[in-house]
Symmetry: D2
Subunit: 357 residues, 4 copies
């Protein structure tokens, strides 16, 4: 099973990169919520391909067609189903990949799982394109969360070896989040952004690719949300964030760096300011014992460099069992990290909505 | 909800640090499997407290009492329930913590979630002690997996700033795994282990604590296990590993470091050796598109330093709303990373058994 | 949550009676299964409206548009999504029902659950029309089951007070099942069928409606499928069959009548014939302890008479709180039992496929 | 998987009839609820065996030992685990049943499912004894529901061919429910009860057994609870009620009888009395479209006669494949319907609590 997430809300994602359409069903959204479609489309446009030189040349409008669950702009309590057409598909590009799996792509694993019956065109339902319906669902959940005063924003923390500025984990505000979202390259300090773009363009001209790290903050979430053991905030967020293709790591608060500190350095002292209990630092990333502390929830996720590169690589011909060299054609992203930023926000929004409803 | 994991098998964990007992129910284990109880107890002993100076002084036999599901040493298809007594409890140590939450511990979040009705004694069901039943379940699953040629082993990759040697992600063998498990400090190179012990003892004598990183390898797992999107190996393993208290990050394969490489550096070329398809490197950590590639599954998880330290810290009195200083009494681990090694193995074993049955 | 069923396969149903379309996602179907689309359409045609005088006048082609999961007629392992257009909608018919809930229809309960934001048009997602995607999913599952030698068939056991012949619970064959399916009125003895049609036409001409009982048999299912306690065959089948609108009861084997027998009368003796263990009678309906016995699984479900009738009825105006008389317009089925027969087969097919994969 | 139920609360049942103990874990109960242990024990005593001539001679105190989740009589938010010892076991009685499955008992199906490794002693985890932990969980849920004004009560509607009086589905009160619970034979009209006892004693003296029907009412439940399609009240209640061994049918409201009525007879007119919307009749059993209407929820479930009878029966020797006669020894109930009454209440309480939290 692959396509279901959630307990109080249930998100089901379907489609393949080159099937007639892709889409999702979001069940459990209460009736009576006004949904702003323009904002959903604006959110999805942040992820959409074909916009610039640092993304794939595939052009898709990614305009969702809502076929159920919303009547006159208001949820009716029935599952919300949205369909997104696949229009600009060039399946012929993928013919030779059936026998020649791309290194570090899902091709080989999918072949083994599905005995060769997987849809190889465009990566099938392993494609990064499956994050379009995730963004639709996230955009709906973001509107639900905002009505409760919860805001989510992400930005590029690094691309390749170019590091950006991080959020202030104690004081990050809605304005901080909003100012990043409107940028073509969602970074806090634009001079870092220019270096990142230059690095991506350099990789692309070499027929290579880059990965990076996305940092996400959730603010306004009250203390006491989540559960210990298997249903904590970390468990829930990680289990959906790893649903974004290419994510290979996640850390909350001080994360891996925090594991190198002493307790006295990593512990976050409590303080009471104007009747509100906060912590002076936020190495715990807003989560204690799996449960929110009321401080901003902060996490970072690592994206591997896009596996589809133009450089010649070694693979195995699955038909003959012989080693062969492979040069991948088709249209690919030299880096997907900037397009992944809204996907991370969407994943976080779905996970938190599932906990908070 | 907090205590359930799994789909084909279902693990339910119950108990609090100072309740009469803790335990677990493991449902879905097929009938007819011979269970070696001595090996289960030996596995659980690796986690048990009170064994040496670098662990808590609390002494618990941690001997599981199997009350259902196994008849004459063989599973009967009914859920397996095991109970572990809590004997060495000193609840009085915890009285003052009800009003004074320990920095970076679950106390405050639990208080907010449960309106102060949470069991504060020993951390209640937020305690690291809840990993004892996880280890029981893992020990059962390890025997199931071994019957299918799948082996799991973990070791300490770092404690504080002391780094250890890592597994060879391409060629790690069952012997490699076994040789580490028998050690009191489970590291590959014992000279690193001595430095780690020294670091822990130093932290302890300062009333401080250390965290670290545990690396885990799963070998012998065939290609084609797992699912894309929300039910991949990464999603499943992360969602259970974050159930171990103090884990704040997880990465698979080259993980966060891999996000700084180019595609041409991070991609793993396929090769066919003696009819077997493998990769020359293993930056993908044995997982492509959420599905196993047949290479060793490799992941690392970051543990924060133990929050309960003897040094004076600042907190807030939940009754008065005033800031107060706190010195934590009771018996605490200056580092839990070495005791967490079998917990990580157990978590991986449960996750993989759930996928493979 | 309302629209999800299953564990090894997951069925998600979406849409409302008068939304742009209705449909379903069926996840977990293995890759490489050839799907006969014509047979799916033929199966769905058995349920489709507008065919004769004893059904609603609403005309819908009910032709599924498969937008993902099947490539060149073969499953690819990705979720199968099928969409069915809603074309012949007359939403104006429903305007006055928003304030005047129809007796024994879902209107009032839906209003209370969704604070009046439910989609009232055509019953929204409470409509019997939601069984069209259920039939699509069932038709796929039926093909999977047939490849394993498992066959499912249902027929009308009674309509109103007109009783039909029942299946022979011990010896029912695939031929018995097939011969019923091809009939416009799916009954074993056609003389009963004629009486049933006459009863429906009489009710219709009085502006009234009828209910009835559908009996279903599953043959070829091996012994040992299912689980005790909460995951038995009875639990699973009942939890999906009550998803068909208007079902108010279900019984397995001798059911309610069996509760009036003595043990010595109701018990089914075992016998061994040609090395095969069978029972001489089948009061247990093929299920013992929640698990299949290898005998035909037999169940019957009771459908209430269609609540939408032309006769004047008493209701309450939800706006004014005053009692009012109501005469329901629109196009309604005087009886849905004959159209429900394939729905019951579909529900059984989905439940059994979920257990058997 | 067999032993898990629920979504917002999760009930896990474990144990076998002759294992060291049986028990359950109830997760998801909010913290801060005062639990009256005496009332739990009194509730469980209604089910306990060994009390009179119309029940099995096996004597069990059925006193639950609560080992987690409740501190000083108040829930702490951690899973509640209760253990019930199995003391009066006579496993020798069951030796010959391993090869000779009892007609209409789970023996044969369990053997086939578990390849003969099932725990045959006392029926293993197929035993009616597994309803003791269900009753514990139900007794906890009943206290939660009562704090919200929801009350549940069941009674014997028939035993064999002796019919009792039914609840008034429109006007049943808490007093009606309470007055039945205190009786040794829980019937509305005691003269019926005397006939039922006489019928059971007659069956027992013949070495035979009887079944029956239990009717249950849930009052005080507000309108708007539940979901359409797969998560309605009927789906949820049936999926747990079929977890009680020997249940072979369930119907809601007018159920099977209602399927023989016309719409104009079965429909329940709405009326507004003192600002409260009710129905004049209650053929819908308090459920419309899967959702509560605010009227009493009424259902009846059919129990088959106890399959373990003293009369000689025909079975097959699983070792030799030969037909053999079997006379069942051991201690068995000539009728379990009267002991099942609290089990049905418990099942309903767990299902409704899961929906209402």
């Amino acid at each position: 099973m692959s396509c279901n997430f959630g307990s109080k809300i249930k998100l089901t994602i379907f489609g393949q990169s080159h099937s007639q359409a892709i889409g999702c069903v979001l069940d459990g959204v209460p009736a009576g919520i006004k949904i702003d479609l323009e904002r959903i489309e604006a959110f999805m446009a942040r992820r959409a391909p074909g916009k610039n030189k640092i993304s794939t040349a595939r052009k898709e409008a990614d305009k969702p067609n809502i076929i159920s669950g919303i009547v006159d702009g208001v949820t009716c309590g029935a599952p919300i189903c949205a369909i997104i057409e696949n229009s600009d598909t060039r399946s012929a590009d993928y013919d030779k990949l059936r026998a020649l799996p791309r290194p570090s792509h899902s091709d080989y694993a999918a072949f083994m799982k599905h005995n060769g019956f997987n849809d190889i065109r465009g990566g099938g339902n392993f494609s990064g394109r499956m994050t379009a319906p995730l963004c639709f669902a996230g955009a709906v959940c973001i509107q639900i969360l905002e009505s409760k005063g919860i805001y989510i924003g992400a930005h590029i923390s690094s691309i390749g070896t170019v590091d950006g500025t991080k959020f202030d984990p104690v004081n990050v505000t809605k304005d901080n989040l909003d100012s990043v979202k409107s940028k073509e390259i969602p970074v806090i300090d634009d001079s870092n952004g220019q270096k990142m773009v230059a690095a991506i363009e350099a990789a692309r001209s070499e027929g290579d690719s880059l990965g990076g790290v996305v940092e996400c903050a959730i603010i306004g979430i009250p203390a006491g949300i989540g559960d210990p053991i298997f249903d904590g905030i970390e468990n829930r967020i990680s289990s959906i964030v790893f649903g974004i293709p290419a994510v290979k790591g996640i850390e909350f608060g001080s994360g891996f760096d925090g594991s190198r500190l002493k307790g006295s350095e990593n512990n976050d002292s409590f303080t009471c300011e104007n009747g509100e209990i906060r912590t002076l630092t936020n190495n715990h990333g807003g989560i204690l014992g799996g449960i929110t502390s009321g401080m901003p929830v902060i996490f970072r996720c690592a994206f591997k460099p896009t596996p589809s590169i133009a450089k010649e690589q070694q693979t195995v011909n699955l038909t003959t069992g012989k080693n062969e060299n492979l040069t991948v054609g088709g249209r690919h992203d030299p880096c997907i990290v900037h397009r992944a930023v809204p996907c991370v926000e969407a994943a976080a929004a779905v996970a938190i909505t599932d906990l908070i409803l």
